[in-house]
Amino acid sequence: MTDEELHELAGKQVALGEMRGAPAPDPVNVPMIRHWLTAMGDTNPAYLDQGLAPPAMAQVWTMQGAGQNRSPVDDLLAALNGSGYTGVVATNCEQTYHRYARVGELLTPATRLTGLAGPKRTALGVGFFATWNVTWYGDGDEPVAEMMFRVLKFRPREPEPERRPPYPLQPAVNQDTAFFWEGAKQEELRIQCCADCGELRHPPGPMCSRCRSANRSHTVASGAGTLYSYVVHHHPPVPGRATPFVVGVVELPEGVRIVGNVVDCPIGEVEIGMRLKVTYRAMDDRLVLPVWAPEES
């Protein structure tokens, strides 16, 4: 429903006026009063002595199970739910007591919708305030108590995309090395390749040390590797890392070595010569690291 349609529905429900609900299943009775007084810690003997119910018990006598006893409010709340205003929080409850309900008296509630306000922007999200009144009638159709009740029905905010804290161990990057880190973001393991003689080189640099060419290209490695050496770092603590962790020197079939973490492998099973495959870890919103997992995993 659009906001206008919700207001239109509310208007119709308000126009219905007060609608009687089903009477309470049981009359006002001593066991319920005693139980309530005990739970509330109210030691005033007047209630039981005189056979009167505490006024604040008004709602107790006619509280209904879910789905029963439809009122003008229910259709509106259902429409709000269906329009995405699924959140609910009670904002106001004001009760007025006309007289004590007496033991043996059967109470009947009557509900009328009094208004719908919104949409309003709130701390919880955009929503509507729905307000209604309930009156409890006793013997002789006398009003015993009234209640004004208001809820905020709101559209829950989209959960915030999880914001990672910035990873503290950022690489320095310049025009000689940016291609590698850009590649990692695209899950490519890029190895510098001389555009003239084809020499592969890692870590990269501005000149080909074989043919002196500054014309550079890169190749994308197969992602296979063999563990050449490794350390298990225990101490001291390293920013952005939980210890222990493994860092290895990985030899690529393309003929270069690269350093990276060995992941997804129990530390006790890490060994020189193990076959690895590259995988990628986003460390924060800007850094992706190529790391290495056992080939069979």
Binding site: Y167, P168, L169, Q170, P171, A172, V173, N174, D176, T177, H202, P203, Y228, S229, Y230, V231, V232, H233, H234, H235, P236, P237, V238, P239, G240, R241, P244, F245, V247, V249, V256, R257, I258, V259, G260, N261, I272, M283, L287, L289, V291
Partner: protein
Amino acid sequence: MRASTAIAGIGATEFSKESGRTELRLAAEAVLAALDDAGLSPGDVDGLVTYTQDANQEIAVARETGIGDLTFFSRVEYGGGAACGTVAHAAMAVATGMAETVVCYRAFNERSGRRFGQPNAGLTGQPTSQGLEMSWHVPYGLMTPAAWVAMFARRYMHVHDATSEDFGRVAVAMRRHAATNPAAWFHGRPITLAEHQESRWIAEPLHLLDCCQESDGAVALVVTSTERARDLRRSPAVITAAAQGAGAGQMMMTSYYRDDMSGLPEMSVVGRRLWETSGLSPADIRTAILYDHFTPFVLTQLEELGFCGRGEAPGFVRDGGIELDGRLPVNPHGGQLGEAYIHGMNGIAEAVRQIRGTAANQLQNVTNVLVTAGTGVPTSGLILSSD
């Protein structure tokens, strides 16, 4: 240049975990102590050399100590690899006439101030060549000296069937030597191989006791001509050979891309130069001061310098080769594992003491001492000899 220059004075502060003084004050104290040792005054100094990593500028040290005009000042790069390089630069300056008396110094509060062993996310801060180099490693959490070395150590174990105990024997020997050196932090506190094995992991395969300590302190050395040194207070420790070395495909601590990772090619460059320029061979060396920030590279240095063959260092050490009564006593002062981590500078001072005959654990008949500097980085070395 051979033998024309000498170390005429050595000086140091105490070695501690918290000096309670500024690094500049430590530098000034060590420089003045070295000058006193040589029998020289600040006014005699016309050159200063330190590490690029030292926080105390030459002119600041000169101001504090009353050194006047300087005609030579120089910095040597690459962390602890600079140690013997400072002496090499000083010797070159003296040999070429750039200066007559040069003081080399290194001063830091490496334990109570900035600790090298702690991760520093700023390593990759700028796209300098070093920042870019670090950027292939630091993002993966590979960012401490222990971990950088552990990568080589694991490979060494694999290639040569070495074990953690082979590394541990180096630590035990260093601590045994330190135990009888009153200047050592670990004076009176030897360890056993079992204690080494039980010490916690830092970066597998390195245990805590494979790693040198972190220290506050300063060391200074006075370099002048051998001829002049003969007239000074102490007998000269002659600089028979001095060399710097970097290998092909070299990086700072992470040269993982060039060879089988079981050696230290840059130390081979240094060793070759030392042997060539001195005319000496490993058999002529009475004791070696080998840079020992981490135990595995002590083994590698024995091999690179030709004291044993490839893969033979574990056996060399197991047979007691590096003990005070061994074939090649290594670090009689206890090294950086036992005495203090003053970025290799304290090892040069120990070499001078061994030449003079004044060391805590003095060896007999010391003629030639070989000293190395930081490993895993571009490095340097010296052969010092009695006159």
